[in-house]
């Protein structure tokens, strides 16, 4: 076979390759002049025999490239789906919170306005926050503000679209609270803008761990909203009263959304406030 190959090469190399040139030129011209079906047959035969291995390699490379491309697309899709899953989880959490709210809302006959916290006071102590609901949405001053965990504060200033909420830790806010177990009434305030302190009569028998709720006596907050738990009890300057630290149910630094109860202050409080 090699001898035959050598013979052909020698033959074609004669006369400075003119034989080869004429041969290939004639071959090329024959292909040019051939009818279309014969040309198609030449191409089909060549592709299916001579160039088949190359075809396989090229298609394998193409396949590899398409896999790489598909991999990129899948990565992008994965990232997008992760985002969607994240949003879906957020939505589910929000739904759970709203379900809790619905149950919460059953206790009182006041409509609820859901709002998002959009800002808070810039000082070191968090005493005020801003929500994205105002008079346009039915929010007015002195309306109670709470979260699904418990009481947050009250609306101190309402504008058209935004309202300022005075938090329980604001030293200017004082409210009447009640021990859920003993039903003894005291009052709650913050002296330093950080901790909540409750003052309760000495004979009440309140213990650490007891739950405090709103008493409904102040005229602003309705009765029964959870406020916090008693942490530490100590003697006050007055012998008849006990001073106790209260841990609020709601951590004010992590608030994202709050609910405003559309409850106007009782008429007596309104009169006092107007005066």
């Amino acid at each position: 076979m090699f001898r035959a190959f050598r013979f052909i090469v020698d033959l074609f190399s004669q006369r400075h390759g003119i034989v080869a040139f004429v041969f290939f030129l004639v071959l090329g011209l024959l292909m040019r002049q051939a009818p279309v079906p014969i040309r198609e047959s030449i191409v089909t035969t060549a592709i299916s025999t001579l160039y088949f291995p190359a075809q396989r390699i090229v298609s394998a490379v193409g396949h590899y490239k398409s896999i790489a491309l598909e991999n990129e697309q899948l990565k992008e899709e994965n990232a997008r789906l992760r985002q969607e899953t994240y949003h879906a989880r957020e939505g589910l959490q929000e739904l759970a919170r709203l379900h809790t709210l619905v149950r919460f809302d059953d206790k009182w006959d006041y409509p609820i306005v859901t709002s998002r916290v959009v800002g808070h006071n810039p000082g070191r102590f968090l005493t005020t926050m801003v929500i994205n609901r105002g008079t346009e949405h039915g929010v007015h001053e002195n309306m109670p503000v709470f979260s699904m965990n418990g009481l947050v504060g009250k609306v101190s200033k309402a504008t058209l679209n935004h309202s300022r909420v005075q938090l329980l830790v604001d030293p200017n806010l004082k409210l009447s609270v009640m021990d859920r177990k003993t039903r003894v009434v005291g009052f709650l305030e913050s002296m330093d803008g950080v901790r909540l302190t409750a003052m309760v009569p000495t004979h009440a028998g309140i213990r650490a761990g007891d739950t405090l709720i709103t008493s409904g006596l102040g005229g602003i907050f309705p009765k029964g909203i959870p406020v916090g738990t008693v942490k530490d009890i100590r003697k006050s300057d007055l012998d008849v009263m006990r001073q106790m630290d209260v841990e609020p149910f709601q951590d004010f630094t992590t608030l994202e959304e709050v609910f405003v109860m559309e409850k106007e202050p009782d008429w007596i409080v309104k009169e006092l406030l107007d005066e």
């Binding site: 190959f5 003119i18 290939f24 090329g28 060549a46």
Partner: protein, 163 residues
């Protein structure tokens, strides 16, 4: 010429086509890229003479024809056979080609090859003029540049061998 050398050229031929299908696309600007196949034919014709030049020219041309429209079958084969033969004749009969001459032959070969191709396919005068200005000329210059680099590296290799 030994059988091993033919095998080497065959492998080189496959590599050249692989380069033409991949690297040429990456190197192209504004749809103008180098033609590695023509560099290959010119290089083979210079190194191995007109017979090998027209053989590999025909093989390369036929390979391109197979993947071109069936109506133009044979056009590449003819033009590249002529190219391989002509360059081989130049090298064998008239010139001992140095680097600039090789690059010049490459450019001329590119130009002649395209002209024969246009002639064989029977494209209209306006189309040919347009293709000549937008494709042949810029691609010819680009191929000369790439071919020049290749010939320069090849010459450097030869000098090292002699030393």
């Amino acid at each position: 010429m030994s059988n091993l050398k033919w095998l080497k050229v065959l492998i080189l031929f496959i590599i050249v086509f692989a380069l033409q299908m991949t690297v040429a696309d990456w190197l192209s600007f504004f749809d103008v890229g180098p033609d590695f196949v023509i560099i290959f034919i010119v290089a083979i014709a210079i190194k191995m003479g007109p017979a090998a030049g027209c053989f590999w020219g025909f093989v390369a041309g036929f390979t391109q024809d197979v993947y071109a429209p069936v109506e133009w079958l044979g056009a590449h084969s003819i033009s590249m056979t002529v190219l391989g033969f002509a360059v081989g004749q130049l090298e064998e009969r008239f010139l001992t080609l140095n680097l600039p001459a090789k690059v010049g032959v490459l450019g001329l070969g590119f130009f002649v090859c395209d002209m024969i191709y246009f002639l064989v396919t029977g494209l209209g005068k306006d189309v040919v003029t347009n293709l000549f200005l937008t494709k042949t000329l810029p691609e010819c210059l680009y191929t000369m540049l790439i071919g020049g680099i290749f010939f320069y590296l090849d010459l450097g290799k030869k000098k090292k061998k002699h030393a």
